[in-house]
């Protein structure tokens, strides 16, 4: 199972779907800031890990897979849900990387320079997420690609 990039997939997403993602992303960022302002950083910090656009992304994955099958002449299929489910399993692994990111920011930000901490935290998120995916990919038998 090799990792690859298919840039033509970007054309499948309509301007409306991009707009929804932008609005959701921007809104959640504003809400996280406001919650921190009014209820303090301990409460507001929770929302830095809010699954902001996950529902929109999973819905798009489901929809695009369904359309693909319909174009192939298969009107009724649960393939879209399965692919969205596999996408969610990947997000579950990514969330452990996200926890690592937060841990590095929490521990190193008070003692290191800001840019260095951000680079280390993003690198840790990527490394932990990819390593977990690499370890577990052999267990994802029968999963849609």
């Amino acid at each position: 199972m090799k990792v690859s990039a298919n840039f033509s997939a970007l054309k499948k997403t309509t301007w409306y779907e991009y707009a929804v993602r932008f609005l959701l992303g921007g809104s959640v960022t504003v809400v996280a800031g406001l919650l921190a302002k009014y209820y303090g950083p301990v409460f507001g910090g929770l929302f830095l890990a809010f699954p902001a656009i996950f529902p929109a992304s999973a819905t798009l994955v489901d929809k695009h897979e369904k359309e693909k099958k319909q174009r192939a002449g298969i009107p009724q299929t649960t393939r879209g849900r399965q692919v969205a489910g596999v996408d969610a399993a990947g997000a579950a692994l990514g969330s452990l990387g996200l926890a690592t990111f937060a841990c590095i920011i929490w521990k190193l930000l008070p003692v290191w320079n800001v840019a260095g901490v951000f680079i280390a935290a993003v690198a840790a998120w990527l490394c932990v997420s990819c390593a977990l995916w690499w370890v577990l990919k052999k267990h994802w038998r029968h999963s849609p690609k």
Binding site: R21, G25, V28, A32, P41, V86, A88, A91, S95, A102
Partner: protein, 113 residues
Amino acid sequence: MKDLILRFVIGGIVVSAFAALGDVLKPKSFAGLFGAAPSIALATLGLTIAANGKMYAATEARSMIAGALVFFLYAYLCSWLMVRRKLKATPVTISALAIWLVCSISIWFLVLR
């Protein structure tokens, strides 16, 4: 107001960029990793440090660990409901947000507060 608009624009751009990255990558299990990218944190922590300082942002990051662990439960539950129970993506992912909220706020109330 200017700060909120800036947060909105930066948040929208960063979240959309990570989502687009998830769109182009294959297999979907790998692309899913980007569904839990630190997009909101990257969009907001820089502004927070500039406005409130490093310690304030570090405190937010401490709570973010709890939010991320609840995200794990949320995403795992969504995956299970869609793959095993074959439920539709939209109702599952939206209704499960309530579980994220309840669990996160409970952790805040019982542990972090």
